[in-house]
């Protein structure tokens, strides 16, 4: 009789255990129990989120590939595969290796689809840098990403870093990766053809992260340490060899299906490959290459050792394939074969240790979760701007905001990442979005990640919409047409109704926004239980978005380029401060409602900007985000050291005007003579258009409010993060 504490330790509830006994029609073996526990964990089976995730749009204006480990789009026969994934809990415990193995995992998802990884991004969130452990986390995580990504030769070209109290005790590390291949070269994550051999490839299996994905990832951090995982050392060298070997092996056309052994390792890859192919699978654990002695069957099935994959090979070509992996000093051994009984049969030491229908494993139960709006929100929304006194010295306020780590330069971070390898990066990190060229094509691929979780905390539905809108805005500012989304949904404990209410509303927000932009959500990832003793993190529906530039030569950056160019603001600045960085940093308040968002206006603004860049009318384009108009203007000056004079400002309460975070605003710079043409286009799409002033000299002048030398602006912005590391 399986003791209660056993399956509880595995993270299974009584109800789940009952269900398992029903399915099996008998008492499960310990191996079977372990397999269920990992497959039914939120991490693998999404029992608490699946019903909502189904509502995400799977089609859009670009041909979308959805459904397998990673998704993508197809643009004239080029498949662009991408996905974002979280590695939050491991990183909180051991930042360097946690982040490193996170990068490794997401990149495996890309090349197991047959695509060569061409770029990575990362979205990072920590508590305030005033706390030593948060500084340790920032340094460790960045070190882990550079250690792994640089070694692989996949450029890390973008991302974001936010700081907020809610991440103290539970940082977020979301890694995104992009890969490309000819559409007909795409690989599937399924097993097919009774009798075809199943091959284990990569490094050997040890007792790494056993139970990690169910026990670790689905238990919130109660005073951190107890739930310590068995941390793993990332092995980027082996992963690099794995990339080359896998792509070489796929070239032969004899690999019918292949899947990463990520969370839940062999259990997940075997069960899900079989289920996806509507077949069964029989494997012999004695054939699995082991790095430790005396491993139990359940340990081998649950091991999360990194840099491993499972492949289904066309019968008769085993040797050809394993030779390729051996050439790269990797294992390539047959451990089983495809059956027609739709059962996953696992043998060890001559005994059958598990026999489960793949359906039961791959289709975790779905739970309807209670959802309830937290009562504090109405009070927060009641916030009245008049309760905030207007600052007397706007120079000081601006410098303070520029030095706030969330806004400050991220150069210290991305300079540690090789962002140039593969020689496709035509817009380096630092501007709104990166732009990669594709060798042999005219087309460019732009990528960004965005999410303001403070907005989501104040208004999850609109906050999530803004995340999508801002990502699209960043792409448009670089000259791209927003094409598709991957999401990484980081939330607290879904069993708490208020947390789930946030999750539900954020998902709905993403759905609305993506439908409005007519773009598909092609892949994603859910990370629940992001909580610490001081409560849940801000709801953080990270949005990774890529855009397409028909001709990468028509790309744009955010930097002012020519003295005398006029500085133009598209969009409307409203009297709002809710959730702004200004309110937080200067007045230490998190209050109000998220900024208003009119998706129709947003699209109109983006259309105008896309068109003027295509027409070659503008010399720079930059969206207003955290810190509002003043900070955005400052960011336009940072690279080329050109200042400006803004003398024509809308009449508005001054702090709202300078630092309010009204959405759908973009700053352009262009030759005087062309301003008229831009104005026409704006009028035609009834987008508010204003010439604020002009690029000029080396000072930063905004009406009577701000007058600073660029050197001081830069200094503040550059020291924001560096002064802590």
């Amino acid at each position: 009789m399986v003791k209660r504490d056993v399956y509880c330790a595995l993270g299974l509830t009584d109800a789940e255990y009952q269900k398992i006994e029903e399915i099996m029609g008998r008492e499960p073996s310990s191996t079977e129990l372990a397999m269920f526990s990992v497959e039914w964990s939120e991490h693998c089976g999404y029992p608490r989120s699946r019903s909502l995730l189904k509502t995400l749009p799977q089609t859009g204006k670009y041909e979308a590939l959805v459904g397998e480990d990673s998704g993508g789009i197809v643009v004239d026969n080029l498949a662009i595969i991408f996905k974002m994934e979280s590695h939050n809990h491991p990183s909180q415990v051991e930042p360097k290796q946690g982040a490193a193995t996170g990068v490794g995992g997401i990149i495996r998802d890309i090349f197991t689809a047959g695509a060569r990884p061409i770029a990575s991004l990362n979205s990072l969130r920590f508590g305030p840098l005033t706390e030593p452990y948060n500084r340790y986390l920032l340094k460790g995580v960045v070190d882990g990403i550079q250690f792994y990504g640089n070694c692989l030769g996949v450029p890390t070209v973008g991302g974001e870093v936010y700081f907020d109290e809610s991440y103290s005790g539970n940082c977020l590390v979301n890694a995104m990766s992009i890969g490309i291949c000819e559409k007909d070269k795409l690989a599937r994550a399924k097993a097919v053809g009774t009798g075809n051999p199943i091959m284990y490839v990569g490094s050997s299996t040890g007792r790494d992260g056993i139970g990690g994905c169910s026990v670790l990832a689905s238990a919130e951090f109660s005073e951190g340490e107890e739930k310590r995982p068995t941390v793993q050392i990332g092995d980027p060298f082996t992963e690099k060899c794995l990339i080359e070997a896998t792509l070489e092996a796929l070239e032969t056309g004899h690999i019918l299906g292949i899947k990463d052994m990520g969370a839940a390792g062999l259990t997940c890859s075997s069960a899900e490959m079989a289920h996806a192919g509507d077949v069964g699978m029989e494997i012999d654990l004695n054939k699995v290459p082991l790095s430790e002695e005396g491993m139990e069957a359940y340990e081998i099935m649950m091991s999360e050792s990194q840099e491993r994959m499972l492949a289904c090979i066309k019968k008769g070509h085993e040797d050809e394939i394993s030779k390729i992996f051996e050439k790269w000093d990797l294992h390539g051994v047959i451990i089983g074969y495809v059956t027609d009984d739709k059962l996953l049969t696992v043998n060890y030491n001559g005994k059958e240790v598990a026999k489960i229908t793949t359906e039961a494993l791959a289709k975790a139960p779905i739970y309807e979760m209670k959802s309830e709006k937290p009562d504090y929100l109405d009070k927060l929304h009641a916030f009245d701007i008049k309760s905030i006194s207007e600052p007397s010295d706007y120079n000081e306020v601006l410098l303070k905001l520029l030095a706030s780590p969330t806004i400050a330069s991220k150069e210290w971070v991305y300079q540690q990442y090789d962002h140039m390898v593969q020689t496709n990066t035509t817009i380096l990190p630092g501007s709104d979005a990166t732009v990669l060229k594709v060798k042999g094509r005219k087309m460019g691929i732009a990528a960004t990640t965005d999410c303001n979780s403070r907005y989501c905390f104040l208004n999850p539905h609109r906050g999530a919409q803004i995340a999508v809108a801002e990502a699209a805005r960043n792409l448009v500012c670089s000259g791209a047409d927003p094409a598709a989304v991957t999401d990484c949904l980081n939330f607290g404990n879904p069993e708490k109704p208020d947390r789930f209410w946030y999750f539900k509303n954020c998902v709905e927000g993403i759905v609305d926004a993506c439908k409005s932009f007519n773009i598909a959500v092609i892949s994603g990832n859910v990370s629940f239980y992001n909580e610490s003793p001081n409560g849940a993190i801000n709801p953080t529906p990270g949005i990774g978005m890529i855009g397409i530039i028909p001709d990468y030569k028509k790309r744009s950056t955010q930097y002012f380029k020519n003295e005398g160019d006029v500085v133009i603001l598209l969009g409307e600045t409203k009297e709002e401060l809710g959730g702004s960085e200004y309110l937080k940093v200067i007045h230490d308040r998190v209050a109000g409602d998220a900024p208003e968002l009119d998706l129709e206006r947003e699209k109109a603004v983006q259309k105008v900007v896309y068109d003027v860049i295509q027409e070659g009318f503008v010399n720079s384009a930059h969206d207003c985000s955290e810190g509002g108009l003043a900070v955005a203007l400052a960011e336009c000056c940072m690279r080329d050291g050109l200042g400006f004079i803004v003398d024509n400002l809308p009449k508005l309460r001054e702090d709202c005007l300078l630092f309010g975070e009204s959405q759908s605003r973009i700053i352009l710079s262009a030759d005087k003579k062309i301003a008229g043409k831009i104005e026409e286009l704006a009028k035609k799409n009834n987008v508010p258009f204003a010439v604020l002033g002009q690029v000029d000299g080396d000072r930063f002048k905004v009406g009577q409010l701000i007058d600073l030398p660029l050197t001081r602006i830069k200094e503040a912005w550059n020291k924001g993060i560096r002064s802590y590391v």
Binding site: P236, W328, Q415, T423
Partner: protein, 228 residues
């Protein structure tokens, strides 16, 4: 004229170098797997950047013992042109084809950014197409680019005019701002910056392409190693 790009397990700039030779300077080029030892039909061997063997233990330390290295040493001793970029430079140091060693960057961080280089010597097969004293923009991307050599060795380098590139603003602590050197015979170049990353204007600079053009020039001028 034929270029060869060496591929060690873990090399990751091999495809970038291959691309520049084939598509930018439009010369014949082949990959050379680190286990092959046949180099006779090559005129210039490129040891690319990356993380050969993960840079485990020490950058370039393990790659230095790949089967191909004995052939490369012979190729170099016979006067063949060999260029090691970044990790390739580190391999050449470990192999003793160039003097000195690499230490960790002074700031202890990986640094990826464009830097200004001063061309110190144009009398080499790799820099003839630059002007002496010219300042060029070529990116670096490394963890261990802090070049070390003892005073005696440094004096040698200077005496023989072996320093080809210096950093205008030393990013990594390298002795005497050294970014690239040649051997005494001047047929082996090692440089930390990545010329292949600055050979197309869309990438921000074309200054690096002249390293490759210099090689082509040298070879077309009938430079040929004594086939032993």
């Amino acid at each position: 004229m034929k270029f060869g790009v060496v591929v060690f397990p873990g090399s990751n700039c091999d495809r970038d170098c291959f691309h520049v030779v084939k598509e930018v300077i439009k010369q014949p080029v082949e990959y050379i797997w680190h286990k092959s030892t046949q180099l006779d039909h090559f005129d210039c061997i490129i040891i690319p950047g990356g993380f050969s063997y993960g840079d485990y233990l020490r950058c370039g330390a393990i790659a230095r013992f790949s089967p191909i290295m004995d052939s490369i040493i012979k190729f170099a001793n016979d006067g063949g042109l060999v260029i090691g970029i970044c990790n390739g430079f580190q391999v050449l140091l470990e192999a003793g084809l160039l003097p000195g060693a690499m230490l960790r960057n002074k700031n202890l961080h990986f640094i990826c950014k464009y830097v200004d280089l001063k061309v110190e010597a144009t009398a080499s097969p790799f820099s003839s197409q630059y002007k002496k004293g010219q300042v060029v923009r070529i990116p670096i991307a490394h963890n261990e680019g802090n070049y070390y050599i003892d005073d005696k060795g440094l004096a040698e380098l200077k005496k023989n005019d072996q320093i080809i590139f210096r950093y205008a603003d030393n990013p990594n602590g390298a002795v005497d701002d050294i970014a690239g050197i040649v051997n005494k015979k001047r047929n082996v170049l090692g440089m930390m910056p990545h010329p292949e990353r600055s050979s197309e204007i869309e990438l921000g600079s074309e200054d690096g392409v002249y390293v490759f053009k210099s090689i082509v020039k040298t070879l077309t001028l009938g430079f040929s190693r004594s086939k032993v």
